[in-house]
Structures are given as structure tokens and as C-alpha cells.
Amino acid sequence: MANLDDLIGADNPLYEKRKGVYPKSVDGFFRRFKWAIMAVTLAIYYVTPWIRWDRGPHAPDQAVLVDLANRRFYMFNIEIWPHEFYYVAGLLVMAGIGLFLVTSAVGRAWCGYACPQTVWTDLFQHVDRFVDGDRNAQIRLEKAPWGPEKIFKRLAKWSIYLFIAFWTGGAWIMYFADAPTLTVDFWTGQAAPVAYATVGVLTATTFIFGGFMREQVCVYMCPWPRIQTAMMDEKSLIVTYREWRGEPRGSVKKAETQPGAFGDCIDCNQCVAVCPTGIDIREGPQIGCITCALCIDACDSVMEQIGRPRGLIDYLTLDDVATEKAGGTAHPTLKTLFRPRTLVYFGIWCLIGLAMLFTLGQRTRLDLTVQHDRNPLYVQLSDGSIRNNYTVKVRNMETRQREVELVVKGLPGAVAWTSTGTRETATDRVKVSVAPDTVQKVRLFVVAPTEGSARTDFEIQAVALTGNERGDSDSVRFERPETGQ
């Protein structure tokens, strides 16, 4: 790479060279919390596709499955059909409002703990420590010339990166097909090309984004930090340096010799050393800060060692910063979480969730939509009666064959038949057999006498003949010529 630098010019103002970030390992409350979140999110990601769920012979046995080929989405005992996509939309809206809620309450907690980029970057930084050693060893190795040790360590590290990246991509495709079958197919070369392509792309992006670009993704590529800034206000909890307590900085020794002249910050730089994005929190809130609070852990442990109070760096609202500066005391953390804004978000979030649960409980598993053919709008038959054609879609969303009767209601003298019958056998109800878990498209011919208003609204009902569960109905229009011939 050095050659390329010479070519473009190392001090060329066209670009900024990435400053290496070698976060030091740290222990503390937030670090352990981050471990827990990482374990839970990764476990959910890798394990979910392998949970089995018995749905009978006509549906897959995978608990969570996005079946794109058959256009079904399975989530435990909920099965979503394409026309019910509003449930997915509802989930997305809930996720959005959830993000508003979390951000307005605790700032960029998503960035700090749950974002995949954060989780995998954290994982890869642990790999760095495992192979290269902690911060100082990493810096030393980076500066060292290429030799057997460096080559070996780099190869080892990148191999582990690649292994993790591959598993990440591999787990993703498991959500889209039966996981055990797909695993076998994948290794025997029989999986769909899109499966290999997806694994390839996700392996590459995980390898590059998690292994090499890391905080560059957060700072330059990700839109969230910019949007989240707008979601926060002065009452949101963010990671803050109590600069009125810390400044001016001075070492422990200096502070002993000149009592009162220095603040609590001893400029040990531990907060910078542990930061996964390489920023200095003492410069104030900034876009690179993902509020993971590892600097709080680092600073607290230093404060404890030198016998000063914890909390020089702390989760604090901007309001409380002003209050403390003026000599007051900050609100208790819990109290900052409950305020009108967060409560409104939480209320909306709950309302949408409850509404979705309610409709989920109310939805029918036999659904009907009727479309009036527009071309022609009506057909005059040789005996003078008028025929209208309808395209009826009967959705049997249960995993058993069902006999359904389509009933014409509210159109005097009307009879109907489908493409499998004839007019001679037509009555006001037509039987249709619908296979399990399918949409049956039926062309319905409805004949009514010429006499009648030019437009009559009537209903086509789907009545399930097997079982006594609710059917569905759709209101349509019968068209006649404006003036009878």
C-alpha cells in the first residue's frame, strides 16, 4: 500500500488516511452488558432458523421462514400471506417508533449495542485481541516490518475473519429455505445459485465492513447517526464528559502538589484507548460516538484506583449537564426515562402492537376478492339477458382441502356458473374445491335478466362447507346497458 501512497502522495489533501483504532480491552458494567447483548443477538441470529415447528403435511416445519418462492412468511404459529403484508409493514412501523423511543430515552443505544455493524465489529476486535494481543501489542505489530510472525498472525486473523464472515452469510440464507435441507444442498452443490451468491456477498461485506472498515461505516456510510441526532433532545441520556469536574487536567502528582488547581481528569487517555471508534469523548458529543459507554467503564476503574468519585464520564442528559454546571444535582436516571415524549412514543408503539394482535386474532382463513371484468363490462346474450364476468380469488389459508360455496346475493333472478360448469346447470350458488394453502382463481359468469337498473350492487359470499368457521364476502357491481334493447 505504501507504493500507492507515494503515487497519490501521502500528504495529498484529496483524501484522509484512516487512523488505526486499536481499542484496549476493558471490564465493567457496560462491557458486560455489551457482552450479554452480543451473545443474545448472535444466538438469535444463528439459532432461529433451526427451530422446528410442526404445521402438518402441507406447510414447512421451520418456525421462522421467509418462503419467497411460495410467497409465504411463517413465524411460529402465524402464517402471513402476501395480501397480509401490512403485518410486516406494521412491524416495520413498530421498529421505527421503537427506535424513536429508545433514541429519545437513551440516545444512540441501538448504535452502541444492537447494530449488526457494532456487534460484528466488536466480535472482530476480540479476534484482534485473541491473535495479536491487546492494544499495545496490536500497535507494535502494525508498525513492525513484515516478517514470519506478522505474516502468520495476519493470515491467522484474516482466516478467522473469513470464517466468521462465511458463517454470517451462511446463517442468513437459512431463513429463506428449510435449514437442514439447505445445508446439505449447499455443501453438495445443489442449492440455488442465489443462495451461493447471497453467501458470497454477505461473506464479502462482513469481512470488509467488520474486519477493515469498522468505524468508517458508522461515520461515513451510515445514515442513522445523522437521523438519530434529530431524534434526540436535551433530555436524552448520552455519554458525557463532566468537563467542569475534569478540567483542567493534571496528573495525580501535580494535583497533590497544587491542591485545587486541577480537575479530576488525570489525562490518562484510557477513555480514548478503549473507544471502538477511536474518538475522544472529552471533546464533547460527536458523530463518531456510538454511546457504547466503554469509556465510562475505563474511566470509572481509573477513578476507583486513584480514589476519586466515579462518573467523570457518565450517561447524562444535556439538561443535567447545565444543571450540574450551575451547581445543582442531576435527575435520577430512571426519572429521565419517563417524560411526555417517551411516553407518547411508547403509547403509539403499544397501540400499533395491540391493533396488530387484535387483527391477527380476528382474521379469517378463508378470504375472497372479486374483480369485475372491465372489458367487456357486460355481455348481451341471445335471449336478451345480460351476463357479467368476474374474476374471483378464493384464498384457502388453512392446510387442508376445503369445499367452498360461492353464493350470489342481492341480485334478483341471477344465476352463476364457473368455467367448469355451463349455463344449463347454473344456480345462485357455485361449489368450488380449494386445495390446501392455495389461492383458487375462478372465473364466475353471472347472468341476470335485462330488466333492472343499469348498475346494481350485490354481494358474492364465500361459505365454507367444511367446518363452521367464518367465510368472507365481497361487494361487486352488476352492469347492464343504459337502455334495454
Binding site: 497519490i8 489533501p13 484529496l14 483524501y15 484522509e16 488516511k17 484512516r18 472498515m213 468508517q216 461515513y220 371484468d373 372491465r374 372489458n375 367487456p376 355481455v379 348481451q380 346474450l381 341471445s382 335471449d383 336478451g384 339477458s385 351476463r387 364476468n389 368455467s419 367448469t420 355451463t422 349455463r423 344449463e424 372465473r443 359468469f445 335485462t450 334493447q485
Partner: protein
């Protein structure tokens, strides 16, 4: 006024510690905050990609063509490949259609549905010019949705009409019939009487004794004594509510005077057998199709008409 660049690039903005680039507009100065290095590399990579693209694919317009590109790709070639792929995909349907007699097509629901879909597409290309996009026809061009058929409405009859056409002068198997032009044969007042009688058949005029007599001698041999038509000759049912050219006095007078000789092309010289079967299936599926008779199509025609008569006229 913008300062000349290079004036004070060494000057440092104190709050951010960043150098100025030397541009200033209305007191707003530009700081040097360069792109990250990988971004610049990505930019160079896109340039390389673009160059490669120009070399591999047709790119530069010349006087009457363009550079060919190393891969030899053309949009026409791609289209041909896609058409070929579509043909391969369609092959099972086409082969199955070729193997099945058209009378049995409706019974094979799966094949029938496939044929209807294919026929709908073919109809949009070959038939809409005369019969309209909804197959609803227009004056002189039959509505294919209704239950009135000049030559028969079971799938075999429709298939025959599609294959051989109607009144194709160079084709021996075409459906052909000729209604005489009565201009000069009958006097204008006689023609008016016949028209009156024809209108009375569907209840649009009072019965007319003179017209009935003239109809019996001149028209009944093809249209039947009761005017209900005869399919062997494609003679229309004059007693129903459907008129191909119109049922008003002026139109009927013109029809009797000069006759009508509608022509439909035969499609067996333009379309392959499978497509014609698809079209037959589609037309049959429009709702007016009749049950396939056990015997040959023309023999069954009167029986169907009786069934129609049983339905009752308005």
C-alpha cells in the same frame, strides 16, 4: 469575492484544528475535510470499471454502427437468447397441446388453463384488430363473449373457424356461404316487407303477412321457417337479440338489398397448430362456449339451437 486558492492553506481553523482551503464566500470559509482514502479508491475503481465496460461492451457510436465490444454482446442477441429460452420453457405446453385432440382439451383442466393463458396473449397480437381487446367485436365483427354463434360455439367448431377462416377465396376448406343480394330480385316495397317480418321475429315490429310469405319463399331455406338460422350455412338466428350488423330498419334493408359477406383470415398459414389451439381455448373460455357434442359439430347444431329455444326468447 472568492479569494485566490493557495493564499492561506497553511492557516488553521482553531476550534477544529483543520486547515483552510482558501475559498471564501460572503464570510463563509471552506475547511479542508477530505474524503477517507477508501472512498477515493472506490472512485478510482469506478473509473477502471467504466473503462473496462467501454472495452467489453458496445460503447462508442460510429457513423453507421458502434464499437462492437470484446464480449460480442448485443441487445438483439440477448433478445434472441431470451426468446429461445422462453420457447424452451413453453415447449412442454406446446407439445402437450399438439398431442391432444381439441375436443378433449377442456377436460384436461390444467392444460386447458395453460392454453387459455397462451391464447389470451396470442389474441392480443392477432385478433384484437377486428374483435377488439375484450373480444367484444363491433359492427360486422362478432362479439366472441356472447352465446350466439354463426358456425358453432363448441371448441371444435371454434378451432375449425380459426384454422380455415371464413370466405377465404383460395382455400377449399374454408367456411363459406353466400347470401343473395335481393336488390333487383325483390322490389323496394317487398324488401321493406321482408325487413318488417324479420324485425317481428324478435318482437321489434308487428307481424307482417306479406313479409312472412316472401320470407318463406326467399329466406327460409337458409334461415329456417322460424328465422332461427342454420349453422351449416352460417346463417344467423334472426329471432334473437343479437345483430352482427344491426337490427334497425335501415341496416336490415341494406343487408337484404346487398347481402353481407364478412371475411376472416385462415390462421393455419400464419400460426402454428399449438397457437391456434390456444386461441380456440381462449375464445371458448370467454363464457359463450358451448358443450362439445358427441358427434360431429355441424350435426349437433340444431340440437343446440333447440336447447337455446328452450331457454326462451325475450
Amino acid at each position: 469575492m472568492a479569494k485566490k486558492p493557495g493564499d492561506d492553506t497553511q492557516r488553521i481553523d482553531q476550534p477544529t484544528g483543520t486547515a483552510f482551503v482558501g475559498h471564501e464566500w460572503d464570510g463563509i470559509e471552506e475547511l479542508n475535510t477530505p474524503l477517507p482514502r477508501w472512498w477515493l479508491w472506490t472512485f478510482y475503481l469506478t473509473i477502471i470499471w467504466a473503462l473496462a465496460y467501454v472495452i467489453m461492451y458496445p460503447a462508442w457510436p460510429l457513423v453507421d454502427s458502434a464499437t462492437k465490444g470484446m464480449l460480442g454482446w448485443t441487445s438483439r442477441g440477448q433478445l434472441a437468447a431470451e426468446m429461445q429460452a422462453a420457447d424452451v420453457k413453453r415447449a412442454p405446453l406446446v407439445n402437450a397441446l399438439a398431442a391432444i385432440p381439441v375436443e378433449q382439451l377442456v377436460a384436461d383442466q390444467k392444460l386447458y388453463q395453460g392454453a387459455v393463458a397462451g391464447g389470451a396473449a396470442a389474441f392480443k397480437v392477432h385478433c384484437v384488430q377486428c374483435h377488439g381487446s375484450g373480444a367484444i367485436g363491433s359492427k360486422g365483427y362478432p362479439n366472441l363473449n356472447d352465446d350466439d354463434w354463426l358456425w358453432g360455439g363448441d371448441i371444435a367448431a371454434i378451432h375449425y373457424t380459426l384454422t380455415h377462416g371464413i370466405r377465404n377465396p383460395d382455400h377449399p376448406e374454408t367456411r363459406v356461404s353466400a347470401m343473395p343480394a335481393f336488390d333487383g330480385v325483390l322490389t323496394p316495397s317487398e324488401i321493406a316487407s321482408v325487413v318488417g317480418h324479420v324485425q317481428s321475429l324478435s318482437g321489434k315490429a308487428k307481424p307482417n303477412a306479406k313479409g312472412a310469405e316472401l320470407f318463406a319463399t326467399n329466406c327460409a331455406s337458409c334461415h329456417g321457417a322460424d328465422g332461427k338460422g342454420l349453422r351449416e350455412f352460417g346463417a344467423p338466428n334472426l329471432a334473437d337479440g343479437i345483430w352482427l350488423y344491426g337490427g334497425d330498419k335501415a341496416t336490415l334493408t341494406e343487408t337484404v338489398k346487398y347481402s353481407r359477406q364478412g371475411v376472416m383470415p385462415r390462421w393455419n398459414d400464419k400460426l402454428d397448430a399449438a397457437t391456434i389451439k390456444m386461441l380456440a381455448a381462449y375464445v371458448y373460455s370467454l363464457g359463450g362456449g358451448e358443450a362439445t357434442p358427441a358427434a360431429a359439430a355441424p350435426a349437433a347444431a340444431p340440437a343446440t339451437m333447440e336447447a337455446k329455444a328452450a331457454n326462451g326468447q325475450p
